[in-house]
């Protein structure tokens, strides 16, 4: 009895040391990851509870929740939160809708489908800053932009020499930012929905056709419910990224004309107002918001996997 217990214990010890021998080589990487990703967050968290403004170095010290109170009550910050929500919701919904339409079109067989699909994906592969610059200068610019150029061409076609030349960015700033983001995010949504469409069980569709359903009814009763989880997934993943968007706002409008979203406001608070405490608190608010959305995203992903395996 005792001997067997003793051998069991020494076995445990052996196994534990073997486990550690296997893990040890991974430790440097783990420590590096923690230092690079977790420490800055911890520091941000600490700073968010401090009064720390570079212009008033004497007042530095802990202030509890004051920064959070200011983030949530400050008019600027509240506007930024509203803008963020509006921007995210619009971009996600419109790009989901466009992505769905394109995915449905690409789900049919036609010559050159592979080439068209690749071309449809390219906007997503463009570096975000480059895409924003492209929209700002090559498309929206009132003097030499493509949009106004096209308007001029169309007006000429009908013999008019005085085409309207709107200044897109200053007349509809938020819509301009949204357009650029929608252009970039539609391919992402399309890819997710196309994967969903191609995972549709064919026999179920055939059964529905035999049961008398036409194309619209098949979409309404079979395809759409099947795609629901993919739509949720696309919406949530898109939200995570667009909530944090900085490039488009910074490049196209520099946060002016009511387009400053939370990340941009944080940037301003940090680099222009040098109010590190308040910027950190706002950053933490963004992180919390993102974590909430991400939790839902993960839940959707895991329910998708459950479905796949139970089939």
């Amino acid at each position: 009895m005792t001997t067997s217990a003793a051998t069991a214990r020494s076995g445990d010890v052996l196994r534990r040391s073997a486990d550690w021998a296997r893990r040890a080589p991974l430790l440097p990487a783990l420590i590096f990851t923690i230092v690079v990703t977790q420490l800055p967050f911890v520091v941000t968290l600490i700073v968010s509870f401090m009064d720390w403004n570079a212009y008033y170095p004497d007042e530095r010290g802990f202030t509890g929740l004051t920064n959070y109170k200011r983030v949530l009550t400050d008019v600027n910050m509240r506007d930024a939160i509203l803008t963020t929500v509006l921007l995210t919701v619009t971009v996600v919904l419109v790009s989901l809708f466009l992505g769905l339409v394109i995915a449905l079109l690409l789900d049919r067989k036609f010559i050159g489908r592979g080439a068209v699909r690749t071309m449809m994906i390219t906007p997503f592969l463009v570096v975000p800053v480059a895409a924003a610059l492209l929209w700002k200068h090559a498309l929206f610019n009132p003097e030499y932009g493509l949009l106004n150029g096209m308007i001029t061409a169309v007006w000429r076609l009908f013999g008019s020499d005085h085409p309207p030349q709107p200044d897109w960015i200053s007349t509809m700033p938020l819509v301009s930012v949204e357009t650029a983001l929608i252009w970039q995010w539609t391919p992402f949504m399309m890819l997710i929905l196309l994967a969903g469409l191609q995972g549709r069980p064919l026999d179920v569709i055939e059964a529905a056709r035999i049961d008398g359903a036409g194309s619209w009814q098949i979409f309404r009763y079979m395809t759409f419910p099947h795609l629901r989880q993919y739509l949720e997934l696309g919406a949530l993943l898109g939200s995570i990224y667009i909530v944090q968007n900085f490039d488009a706002v910074f490049t196209i409008t520099s946060g002016g004309l009511g387009t400053a979203n939370l990340p941009y406001t944080i940037y301003q608070t940090f680099y222009q107002a040098h109010d590190y405490g308040r910027a950190s608190a706002a950053g933490v608010v963004v992180v919390i918001g993102t974590i909430i959305i991400a939790t839902f995203a993960l839940r959707t992903v895991s329910s998708l996997f459950r479905e796949e395996t139970s089939r």
């Binding site: 055939e206 049961d211 139970s310």
Partner: protein, 370 residues
């Protein structure tokens, strides 16, 4: 309800050299239960899907009743289909699954509910109406698939191997239930299976397909007693018929010491063909265990005896033929009395019962008159 006619219907898949279904001619009477049977890849599913409208008909016609449905969409054919995979709608409850076709047809809520309840009662599904297919057993899913078909009271039921995902016992049980249900509803049914026992027990008539061509279509009994070709003879029956090539010797066909007497009609047909060989088939139950002195007895070495309780089957080989020889490898299966089975490895004498042989041409593999 209606009859179904395949009129020289062919299906050639794009890129295939050979039609998957080749000029299929079938007349299925109103209310008949027709089984399509054949080995894997012979075109059973394709034939059924052509009738369903899921597969294009490249040549010929298909009619339901007097209606030419060859180019109609599935939804306009008034048929219901049970898939091998059941193809239940995963996000709908059992009741919604069964009522879907009626809902699409724009029937009232009350009518849908009552017809679904009626079907659920027939299929013993009442207590599962609110469940999703995921939460059902294989047998229950199968019944939901059946329910989805019968709720509609269509002109024709199509079933593609609906029992192949069930375990052996449930399959036998469900087989009888489906046959009984069909008799009760009197709906014309086309049923696909690769299991010849299923085909024989369920069908009013059985159509045997081979490589996309109809080999024979007849009642189960006539298929068994009068197979039209070597293929049908070998396919129908379990264990299979003994089939071997015999030499012609006067008015007899002989293989080693085995000897069968040929009728004059058979001999005339052979003479016309100019053949000196003939394919002879005999069922395991058409063989008697006899003594060495019997005039037509031939020696057989016993390899194994399969005892099934009610029956026993002797598997052996002709002792006087070289083993592994071309002619059916000299292998033979015979039904013997389960109470007096010969020992393994022993030598016994068998005799083919007179008049129980099936005779086929060596060149065409078709049945010869007898």
């Amino acid at each position: 309800m209606a009859s179904v006619t395949y009129d020289k219907a062919s299906r050639i898949y794009p890129g295939a050299e050979r039609p998957a279904v080749d000029a299929l001619d079938l007349d299925i009477a109103d209310g008949e239960f027709l089984v399509l049977v054949g080995p894997s890849g012979c075109g059973k599913s394709t034939s059924l899907r052509m009738l369903a409208g899921l597969e294009e008909v490249n040549h010929g016609q298909i009619r339901i009743g007097d209606r030419d449905v060859t180019h109609l969409a599935p939804k306009d054919r008034d048929i219901a289909m049970v898939f091998q995979s059941y193809a239940l709608y995963p996000h709908m409850t059992v009741a919604q699954n069964m009522g879907f076709a009626l809902k699409i047809a724009g029937r009232s809520k009350e009518e849908i509910t009552s017809r679904v309840a009626e079907a659920a009662k027939i299929l013993d599904l009442q207590s599962h109406l609110d469940r999703k297919p995921k939460a059902l057993s294989g047998g229950q899913r199968q019944r939901v698939a059946m329910g989805r078909a019968i709720v509609r009271s269509p002109q024709v039921f199509l079933m593609d191997e609906p029992l192949s995902n069930l375990d052996a016992k449930l399959r036998v049980q469900t087989r009888t239930q489906i046959a009984a249900l069909q008799r009760r509803l009197g709906t014309t049914t086309v049923y696909v299976t690769h299991d010849q026992v299923e085909a024989m027990t369920m069908g009013d008539r059985v159509a045997v397909l081979k490589d996309g061509i109809l080999a024979q279509c007849d009642t189960p009994l006539r298929l068994y007693q009068q197979p039209a070709s070597v293929f049908v003879a070998g396919f129908i029956g379990s264990p299979g018929m003994n089939i071997a090539e015999f030499k012609l010797d006067g008015t007899d066909a002989v293989l080693g010491q085995a000897r069968v007497h040929l009728a004059s009609a058979t001999l005339t047909a052979l003479a016309e063909e100019g053949a000196d060989r003939i394919v002879v088939g005999f069922r395991p139950e058409s063989v008697d265990l006899v003594t060495e002195n019997d005039p037509d007895a031939f020696p057989v070495t016993v390899a194994v005896v399969e005892e099934l309780g009610s029956d026993a089957f002797l598997h052996g080989w002709h002792s006087d033929l070289p083993r592994g020889d071309g002619t059916g490898n000299g292998q033979i299966i015979a039904r013997v009395d389960p109470n007096h089975t010969p020992a393994k490895g022993s030598r016994v004498y068998l005799r083919i019962q007179p008049g129980k042989g099936h005779f086929f041409s060596v060149t065409t593999a078709q049945r010869l008159p007898s």
